[in-house]
Symmetry: C2
């Protein structure tokens, strides 16, 4: 490249005005067929790529949606991100991922960096604790979708599920299966702890004798933490017969540690994970886990944002997509 082509160059080469070039590219229906063909031929021949920066500035529409993920992106959100990306691409929008890496004041800085690009909407994933950030996001006046959680008072829209109810469901399941000395292996993020809370609540309702011990590990959770976590739990509570792990990676670690110790799963120890990552079904024993429909979250979030950007109203701005307990061999 010597100097990037502009729409004016194309216009000159095609012998038309630059407005016609713009229309031929962006609103082909509003141009006669002959014109369209002539212009697009020049575009193809020159390899012209329109400058979206300029277009965005003028039209105040960036065709860009930002997703803000927790500092360390594990495999957990992958399904959602892929669906989000695809659904947006199909509608002519691009996804921009904001990922931290901004030092100690990360959250505010990250949001600032994202808002500078003037995205048409933002998808949040359990970040944004700081009231400062929330205020700033609100005053940006763009559609926001919060995900992976449920609250009565979202910033704007929400597509999620109840983490408490997940804990309750797993607890009831283990109780029904006859386990009686449960323990929890839990990431230290807010949502994971909400699951633990639900679990304990249900345990009380069911009249479980012991209060389940909770072993907290720093997120993002790893297999190694699962192994060490089970070891620690068994040290302190040797009679433990069931472990609910707030991620499949933790559960895999627990499975491996149990096997190393000669503990039979599920007979001597029940293991339940969360996420239903692609390896869960193929483990030995296959992992019983909680499935979250990340694809649906991503698609719905995309839909909500695009609808709002394009002036359609969103029927159900707070959507609980639930979850499902996938019963396999480990519990």
């Amino acid at each position: 490249m010597v100097q990037a082509l502009t729409i004016h160059d194309i216009a000159r080469l095609a012998g038309v005005s630059s407005m016609t070039v713009s229309r031929a590219i962006n609103q082909p229906d509003r141009v006669s067929q002959a014109m369209r063909e002539r212009v697009l031929e020049v575009v193809r021949h020159t390899g012209f790529v329109p400058n979206a920066t300029a277009g965005s500035l003028r039209s105040a529409r960036a065709r860009l949606v930002a997703a803000v993920l927790p500092t360390l992106t594990g495999p957990v959100f992958q399904e959602m991100v892929r669906a989000l990306n695809q659904a947006l691409a199909e509608r002519g929008y691009q996804l921009m991922i904001g990922q931290g890496g901004y030092g100690p004041d990360g959250e505010d800085e990250l949001l600032h960096a994202v808002l500078r690009r003037r995205p048409d909407g933002i998808v949040l994933t359990g970040i944004l604790r700081s009231p400062n950030s929330r205020r700033r996001l609100l005053s940006a006046g763009i559609p926001v979708v919060e995900t992976w959680d449920l609250t009565a008072s979202p910033l704007d829209m929400l597509v999620g599920f109840s983490n408490e109810r997940i804990g309750e469901a797993v607890c009831a399941y283990l109780h029904r299966k006859g386990y009686r000395v449960p323990a929890l292996l839990c990431g230290d993020d807010e949502r994971a702890q909400r699951r633990a809370k639900g679990f304990k609540h249900m345990a009380q309702l069911l009249g479980w004798a012991v209060s389940a011990p909770v072993h907290l590990v720093p997120a993002p959770t790893t297999l190694a933490q699962g192994r060490a976590g089970l070891a620690a739990l068994l040290d302190a509570h040797p009679l433990t017969d069931a472990v609910f792990c707030t991620s499949d990676m933790l559960a895999l670690g627990v499975l491996i540690e149990a096997q190393t110790r000669g503990l039979a799963v599920p007979d001597q120890l029940a293991v339940v994970g969360l996420g239903d990552l692609d390896f869960a079904a193929s483990l030995q024993p296959a992992l019983t886990t909680v499935r979250i429909d990340g694809t649906r979250i991503g698609q719905t979030a995309a839909q909500y944002i695009v609808d709002r950007v394009e002036g359609r109203s969103v029927d159900q701005p707070i959507l609980d997509i639930g979850f499902s307990l996938v019963e396999r061999a480990s519990a």
Copy 2:
């Protein structure tokens, strides 16, 4: 928000010209201290976020670098992406991830979508086969870094390693350890197959009796494919005593399948992975694998691009960062 604030609003509120506001924000040294404080106070108070779209358009510098990843992003590139993101953020650049999701003509469309935003540079990860895309990228005239591979004639700059040599090293290692009936479990992407080629080449040099069978599986590779792959290999070649898997996920599947079949690792079967993902060290037995320094790739790529964008020359535009064979218990 009613209407987003502009630099002019801030200028009016601070009683200065908009140029002074711009300087106070972007080149604080070029403004007197009193001025700077006055302006930044207004900025803070109003929550003003500058419009990077406008700035990019005028200055022809987006402070944006794009990374183009294969359609399905596994955990493999995570380390690199994180390092890239962080290194860019520290230098005041933002990372934008391009991810496919654009239908059958994905590659060209993805590149087009990325180039429309006029990024200052592009980091490629083993995508971009189409000559069309390569031509278009070249004519965009921006710095490009290819990664995760080695070639004598890169598009522009390159930070990678030799996939052939990885195959050779693993083969030699297994030979030294006394294994004699090797097999390969290999993703169907180009780079994985390059590793297989290196492996077979070394096997020949070492005078290995059998030519190692290769079982190909579609990328991105999964644990389930590892299990099924080992089953298939053992069916066809019951005497197999060593498997080189071109990803740690495949290796994990092989480990699980071996254990299910009562095959002792490493005594009856050696297993080698690739990637050294965070779970590799904690498996039972711990996984022998090939480590690639994703952090270094990401940091170097960021450095190269920023250096070029800011007019500094890059000393060693083709950099082989090598790899290391991490010897653990599985082989």
